[in-house]
């Protein structure tokens, strides 16, 4: 018998409110930052209310095309982001990780998925009406759905995203999306609003282009965007894809960064190190990393696998194909499919275009597909004379690394960069 867990969604909402109040009275806070926290508050409040009001909740894994859920006016629950936010806002995941292990999840399974399973099992996050998942981007996402269906006693749909990007594979994936829409219509009793989906595709184009424009502004020296601000860009796409709130946030941010560039004002007081960030820093160390970056004059200026979108735009006149196509354009798609020269050359080009001094690779011990690239990326970056620091960590599990370890590694790395 799994012990009932505390309501983690309520904890996130409470923490969001406190941070929002602090940000709103902080004279140095960005307006976009306020909007970002309002969006987070909105997302999780909607989820909590949906649970209380019996609305249809569709849980989905990372990179699942949640545009479909939004176009059908269902309530999405991004499972990995929810686990990250539990770690970020409550600083505590041990209870849900332990609950995951009690459900039979091996400790080698990445903590966000282990935690997610545990959180469903001990009732600390709402049980969904459907579980939706895909194989984008790793085996953990591919395999996470069926146990959740069993625990939550709900139906589910697995969306099979082919490995490569031939026309046939893209057509197969679009058919998968169509099939999933039919599944959702049956389960929810709601019909897909294709006009709404077209609008979302249109708005997604605006969102992607704004992100590209923001990245252009980050090329400036000093960089105008906060050291770990890229996580905001990542999160809004995960939680609000193709939504007006995203565009509003990005337009505000772009305006702020444009002004900062005009005033030659950097995000950190004395920019010394321009960094490329590879993969996700530990959520529970975020405040500490932000402080360390500001004190050291370090700022992340580009993230090839998180914020650097692929070329092209979506075709809103074919909304299902557009949603499918987005899966091939997202920055993380470079890590899926054969990791060929294109991805490696993109990294090198990013180094040149964003004047990168060094790279930081957050090696999540539970993430096999990313950690297997450490050596390859280190060698690739060495070709353009950029050193790479690897920090062993876990995105949510606090037992893997400490502030002291990270500080020591970061400080040594900054000394190395300084010497160069």
């Amino acid at each position: 018998m799994v012990e009932k867990g505390s309501n983690k969604i309520q904890s996130i909402i409470r923490a969001c409110r406190i941070i929002l109040r602090m940000v709103e009275v902080d004279p140095n806070a960005r307006e976009s930052q306020k909007k970002y926290y309002r969006m987070l508050l909105q997302y999780f409040t909607r989820l909590r209310d949906a649970q209380e009001n019996g609305q249809f909740i569709a849980a989905h894994t990372v990179f699942f095309p949640s545009e479909i859920i939004l176009a059908m006016d269902l309530v999405p629950m991004h499972t990995e982001t929810t686990t990250w936010m539990i770690s970020l806002f409550t600083g505590e995941c041990s209870d849900i990780l332990a609950a995951g292990v009690r459900e039979g999840m091996a400790t080698e399974i990445c903590a966000p998925h282990r935690g997610m399973t545990g959180a469903f099992a001990n009732g600390s996050i709402p049980k969904p009406d459907v579980m939706l998942w895909s194989n984008m981007v790793c085996d953990n996402t591919a395999k996470s759905g069926e146990l959740v269906m069993d625990i939550c006693d709900c139906p589910g749909y697995f969306l099979d995203r082919p490995f490569k990007n031939s026309d046939l594979e893209k057509a197969y994936f679009a058919d998968e999306v169509r099939d999933m829409i039919a599944f959702l219509e049956t389960q929810s009793g709601k019909k897909m609003d294709y006009n709404r989906l077209s609008e979302i595709a249109e708005t997604t184009n605006r969102q992607i282009n704004l992100t590209r424009e923001i990245n252009e502004l980050r090329k400036n020296v000093p960089s105008p965007f906060s050291p770990l601000g890229f996580l905001e860009l990542l999160t809004i796409d995960y939680l609000f894809p193709g939504q007006p709130e995203s565009v509003d946030y990005l337009e505000t941010l772009k305006k702020e960064l444009t002004q900062a560039v005009a005033e030659k004002k950097g995000a950190v007081p004395n920019e010394r190190f321009r960094l490329m960030t590879l993969f996700i820093p530990p959520m529970y160390l975020m405040a500490f990393l932000d402080r360390l970056s500001r004190e050291s004059g370090a700022v992340s200026v580009i993230e090839p696998f998180f914020t650097f979108w692929g070329e092209g735009n979506l075709d809103p006149s074919k909304p299902v194909e557009a949603v499918a196509e987005k899966s091939y354009m997202i920055p993380e798609a470079r890590m899926y499919g054969p990791l060929g020269n294109t991805a490696l050359e993109t990294m090198k080009q990013c180094v040149l275009d964003w004047k990168v001094d060094g790279a930081v690779f957050y090696a999540d011990v539970g993430c096999r597909h990313s950690c297997a690239t450490i050596k390859l990326f280190k060698d690739t970056l060495a070709d353009v004379d950029v050193p790479m620091l690897t920090i062993d960590c876990d995105v949510v599990d606090q037992t893997v690394t400490t502030e002291e370890e990270v500080t020591e590694k970061m400080e040594r790395f900054f000394e190395l960069l300084e010497d160069r």
Partner: protein, 389 residues
């Protein structure tokens, strides 16, 4: 080989044992190459070997070291959170032990395999390289996609070699490989008997050799072994009849260690055995050979990567029943995530069928000594207690 297997082991087994002793570049492979022929390595059971064979190439399976060993180089390239199977394969590649390969073919089957390919291409290099997209579903559209991938693979191979792979050649290769499957099935049927004439460890010597020599020769030797086993008066029994299920496994010593404890391994669900030879290719001519190959490979006894998992679970339960199994040992290589995810649900399914499960985490190449032996011993005691009411 441990004592249990050495005593009265069938003499026809020796040829397979010799092949495995000379792995990776076995005498059979050297002989093939000395005639000026090419050898391609494949990784994962979703690669249709017949196409490689029909091009006049010897397909062999890439596996890692059959023993516990240091993986210093591959740990640096693949990081220790990748499964030790992919690290062991990479280690052998980096050490030049697969330098005789003229090509490498794989499928997009799991994280470990796809990253192994990425690094193989970057750091080892082989004249020919191909990765097939393998859908994770059994639907008609998945089959169409996989067939297109198989066609593309054939075209790539033809272009690279400057040859044409005819339907006649494919049909002949399918025939040969079906014969292998049929013979292996016959071998496994012998294990359903109350007192089989072959142990689990001995069977693994056979299946390992199957990947490391031409099928033409393998079939001859396996036929001889089957004849010998049918005539044999030697039989084996144990404290319990066991089935192995889970990750890739190629070390007969691991099974030997279980059998030393008194368990008799009579069935398995491994990609180096049942999941390899499980289903036949329909060679009746109802559909073109490539279509028949695609249908068989996608719908074969499934890997944990496939959806829905129930297809795998129900086959495992059926295999366990067919072989009158008392218990299942789930062996999962650390960081083999697809199997780790399946384990809780599979355990429930087996318990529903009143089949107890022992779950063991291990590293690829493990010989099953120490802690594993202790756990197997306790599992056997539990099964005996259950049997005795």
């Amino acid at each position: 080989m441990n004592n249990l297997q050495q005593q009265n082991a069938p003499s026809s087994l020796e040829v397979f044992h010799v092949v495995n002793q000379t792995f990776p570049e076995t005498a059979e492979i050297r002989e093939w190459r000395n005639k000026g022929n090419k050898v391609y390595g494949w990784l994962c059971t979703y690669v249709p070997e017949e196409i490689i064979h029909a091009a006049g190439i010897l397909p062999i399976r890439i596996t890692g070291y059959d023993r516990e060993t240091e993986l210093v180089d591959s740990d640096a390239y693949l990081y220790t959170n990748n499964c030790s199977f992919s690290r062991s394969c990479l280690q052998m590649g980096l050490a030049g032990e697969y330098k005789f390969l003229d090509g490498v073919v794989g499928g997009s089957t799991c994280d470990g395999a796809r990253r192994l390919f990425d690094l193989w291409r970057q750091y080892i290099g082989t004249p020919f390289y191909h990765v097939l997209t393998v859908p994770r579903k059994y639907t008609d559209s998945a089959l169409r996609l996989y067939l297109a991938e198989v066609e593309q693979f054939k075209a790539h191979l033809e272009e690279h070699l400057g040859v044409s792979i005819t339907d006649e050649a494919l049909t002949a290769s399918i025939e040969l490989y079906n014969q292998t499957r049929s013979l292996l099935k016959e071998l496994y049927n012998l294990r359903k008997l109350p007192q089989p004439s072959i142990t689990g460890a001995q069977v693994m010597e056979v299946t390992d050799a199957c990947f490391r020599m031409p099928k033409e020769r393998f079939n001859v030797h396996l036929s001889a072994l089957l004849e010998e086993l049918k005539e044999s008066t030697v039989t084996y029994s144990g404290r319990a009849r066991l089935m192995l299920s889970g990750s890739v496994l190629a070390n007969p010593d691991f099974i030997g260690a279980i059998e030393e404890q008194g368990g008799l391994v009579v069935a398995d669900e491994l990609c180096t055995s049942t999941r390899y030879w499980g289903d036949m290719v329909d060679n009746s001519g109802k559909e073109p050979p490539l279509a028949a190959l695609a249908r068989r490979y996608l719908n074969n006894y499934p890997c944990a990567r496939m959806f829905p998992s129930e297809e795998r679970f129900s086959r495992i339960v059926q295999t366990a029943k067919d072989h009158h199994v008392d218990g299942v040992i789930s062996e999962i290589i650390r960081y083999c995530v697809p199997y780790a995810h399946d384990l809780p649900l599979l355990t429930d399914r087996l318990k529903e069928a009143d089949i107890p499960v022992l779950s063991i985490d291990l590293e690829y190449g493990s010989s099953g000594s120490g802690q594993i032996a202790t756990r197997v011993q306790a599992f056997l005691e539990m099964i005996e207690a259950k049997k005795n009411g």
